[in-house]
């Protein structure tokens, strides 16, 4: 993953410092703003790839900050952090112009995966590819066809969408909640191991007979599809 410029707007200085440190350790550039107005001023310059905005902020609350930016035609992807984390809060956040929503307390791996997904979306409006490729695995989105090492694989519709999402984010960690949101369109915590079972089914189909598997489990985070072993 290339370097990202991230702005963290968080009034809790400890939480803000933790995030900045954690992102820097991942090789990204991260700045911290302690209140809504400071955050707005920094974000309005438009030099960040992703904004991480706490919902409750002094001086200017997170949702107003985002809608203010959107009115100024600044469309830097924004991820809302909230301690509330209920269905209606998510809806409100996304209505205000947020692009994603993570409720506190969160796992950093989850946040990182989502921030990377947002930054990648920003990485230029490249035309939607119709064929995704990872190694010798090919997924044709128009023909709904998957070919592995020259052999066509038959996938269930849901397996196809799962693989499509993983391949769209090839080389990035994709968390279980991201999969549930984007493949099944539900936003609750998947609980139990439902997603893992779907992944292992998919894995059995695409990694069968492969010496180095493509679909990797990232411990404590989620899954990633990529070519070759680490």
């Amino acid at each position: 993953m290339r370097e990202m410029r991230i702005l963290v707007v968080e009034d809790d200085s400890e939480a803000g410092a933790y995030l900045v440190k954690a992102f820097r350790e991942q090789g990204h550039v991260a700045d911290h703003a302690a209140d809504g107005l400071e955050g707005y001023a920094a974000a309005a310059e438009g030099r960040y790839d992703v904004l991480i905005i706490d919902r409750m902020l002094p001086k200017l609350d997170g949702l107003s900050l985002i809608s203010g930016l959107r009115e100024q035609k600044i469309d830097t992807p924004a991820l809302i952090l909230s301690a509330l984390g209920q269905v209606d809060d998510r809806v409100r956040g996304l209505r205000a112009g947020g692009d994603d929503y993570v409720s506190k307390p969160y796992a950093f791996s989850e946040l990182l995966a989502r921030v990377e997904a947002l930054a990648r979306r920003r990485g230029g409006p490249k035309q939607e590819e119709t064929v995704y490729r990872v190694g010798d695995l090919e997924l044709d989105r128009l023909a709904h066809k998957v070919v592995s090492a020259g052999q066509e694989i038959v996938l269930q519709p849901r397996e196809f969408r799962l693989l499509e999402y993983l391949m769209k984010h090839a080389g990035q960690v994709v968390t279980r909640t991201m999969l549930l949101e984007n493949v099944w369109d539900y936003h609750f915590d998947p609980q139990t191991n439902v997603i893992d079972v779907h992944i292992s089914r998919l894995r059995a189909k695409i990694d069968k007979g492969r010496e180095t598997p493509l679909l990797h489990t990232i411990r404590g985070a989620g899954y990633m599809i990529r070519e070759g072993a680490r």
Binding site: D88, V91, P105, R176, W184, D189, T192, R219
Partner: protein, 485 residues
């Protein structure tokens, strides 16, 4: 004195007083009317008597002229009575009669008038009479009348009757009011005394019933039912807080122990890393429990009802069935889906989905342990509403446990050994209630059938839940088990 003031302040007393005034006015009106009618009748009779007298005298006059008239009148005035006569000459001198003189200003003619007159031998004109004055030839004048003393007496009698009846009405009414008020006050005092005892903490107390089945008894009965409900809720609350203490303390203790153990015995970075990872997992489990509790609380408060839209229940049921199909296969079981068409209703798709996830997870965990087991997910129209049914052929839940099991953190004995928080059914029940529906737990003969019953239109989802909170769950642990990684 104070007791009396209290008595006068009672509604019963005020009501009796109001009735008393009404009855008093009624009685006065009736008696006045009677008096008017009686007087009218009396006046009419007097007029008739006078007319008869006049006819008699006219006969005498036409037979024997003024002389015979005077003779007849002389004879008549000798016997005392109510009839009045007077004949005067043209100059106004008295010829014969029992009246001292012609009353002044008496209109001439045949008109019957009421006037004051002076009796012969009396000093003043203090009697009243109806009278008629005639002009006779030769300047003579004839007055015929009738005394109204009787009418005065009658009026007096009626007035006294009115006063007496009003007096008795007020006396009896006040007394009755006091008696009724005291009776009610005595009962209310008993009720308030019980209420105070209950307020001071004796929650087992109930309000006394008189067995009269009157409005006070019914009120007391309803209040007793309310107390029953409050007691149930309090017991439920106690149970929940006990359970929260237990269910949150257990993972917190584990968390602490792991940190402690790692500090004491871990030697390599790898060990520390493992311990930290375990602790993160444990924390995630705790967070999940908190989230579930919060969501139940919010759903019960009707908080999410702003975010309702058209939801296809069949689609959600199919989504969840499909999501869990591979999980079922791992268990050696399968999910059978049966959905009808056009099952749209007003609701929240996310919440319904989460409720169904919990129910399907439960069914697979507890009801599908035999190879080849089948969990059935069915959505259908039921009356005006929609029912989504999750059923299995497992051991089911004993009838006695079915109400209990919806309660938060309730886990039946055979579920305790497995992962779970005991919140899944509570959550499903809360979601059903939020939509104005209910969660039913039934016997699938054999096995368990959980039915999410939803009204087609959730007209009043924001109302406070009317269904009891505790009696909805089964001790099925819900699917808030720690995520496998």
């Amino acid at each position: 004195m104070k007791a009396l003031v209290r008595l006068f302040r009672t509604t019963a007393f005020k009501l009796s007083l109001a009735y008393l005034v009404l009855f008093g006015i009624g009685a006065a009106l009736v008696l006045t009317r009677v008096q008017i009618n009686v007087e009218d009748l009396f006046d009419e009779q007097t007029a008739q008597t006078i007319d008869a007298d006049i006819r008699g005298l006219a006969e005498q006059y036409s037979e024997g002229g003024i002389r015979q008239l005077v003779e007849v009148i002389e004879r008549r005035v000798r016997t005392p009575g109510a009839s009045l006569y007077l004949v005067t000459t043209f100059s106004g001198e008295l010829v014969v009669g029992n009246i001292a003189e012609l009353p002044p200003d008496l209109p001439d003619g045949s008109e019957l008038v009421e006037a004051r007159y002076q009796r012969r031998g009396e000093a003043t004109a203090h009697h009243r009479a109806m009278m008629r004055l005639f002009q006779l030839p030769g300047g003579f004048r004839l007055l015929v009348g009738h005394d109204l003393q009787d009418r005065k007496l009658l009026r007096g009698i009626l007035r006294r009757a009115l006063v007496a009846s009003l007096f008795w009405l007020i006396a009896i009414g006040t007394l009755g009011g006091i008696i009724v008020a005291r009776r009610i006050l005595a009962r209310l005092d008993k009720l308030s005394a019980s209420a105070r005892r209950i307020m001071s903490g004796d929650l087992d107390q109930r309000l006394p019933l008189m067995g009269a089945d009157d409005e006070l008894d019914r009120l007391a009965g309803n209040l007793n039912a309310m107390l029953e409900r409050i007691e149930q809720l309090m017991a439920g609350l106690r149970e929940v807080s006990d359970n929260i203490a237990h269910d949150l303390k257990t993972p917190l203790t584990r968390l602490r122990n792991r940190a402690d153990a790692a500090l004491r015995s871990a030697s390599t970075t790898e060990h520390y890393r493992d311990a930290l990872n375990d602790m993160i997992e444990e924390s995630d489990g705790l967070i999940r429990i908190f989230d579930a509790l919060l969501m139940i609380a919010r759903a019960e408060a009707g908080y999410c009802s702003d975010f309702m839209g058209e939801v296809d229940a069949a689609r959600v049921a199919a989504d969840i069935a499909e999501m869990y199909e591979p999980v079922a296969e791992e268990h050696g079981a399968r999910i059978e889906l049966a959905t009808a068409e056009g099952l749209t209703f007003r609701g929240n798709r996310e919440l319904l989905g989460q409720a169904l996830v919990n129910l399907v997870d439960n069914a697979l965990k507890y009801g599908a342990n035999e190879p080849g087991a089948v969990v059935r997910v069915a959505a259908r129209r039921a009356g005006d509403g929609i029912e989504i049914e999750i059923s299995d052929r497992g051991p089911g839940i004993a009838t006695k446990d079915r109400d209990r099991v919806i309660g938060r953190f309730v886990r039946l004995e055979n579920a305790r050994s497995r992962p779970g928080s005991g919140l899944g059914l509570s959550l499903a029940a809360a979601v059903a209630r939020l939509h104005g529906g209910a969660l039913r737990i039934e016997d699938n003969e054999p096995g368990l059938r959980v039915v999410v019953a939803l009204p087609a239109t959730c007209a009043d989802a924001t109302r406070p839940p009317s269904a009891p909170v505790a009696p909805l769950a089964t001790g099925f642990a819900a699917g808030t088990s720690p995520r496998a990684r």
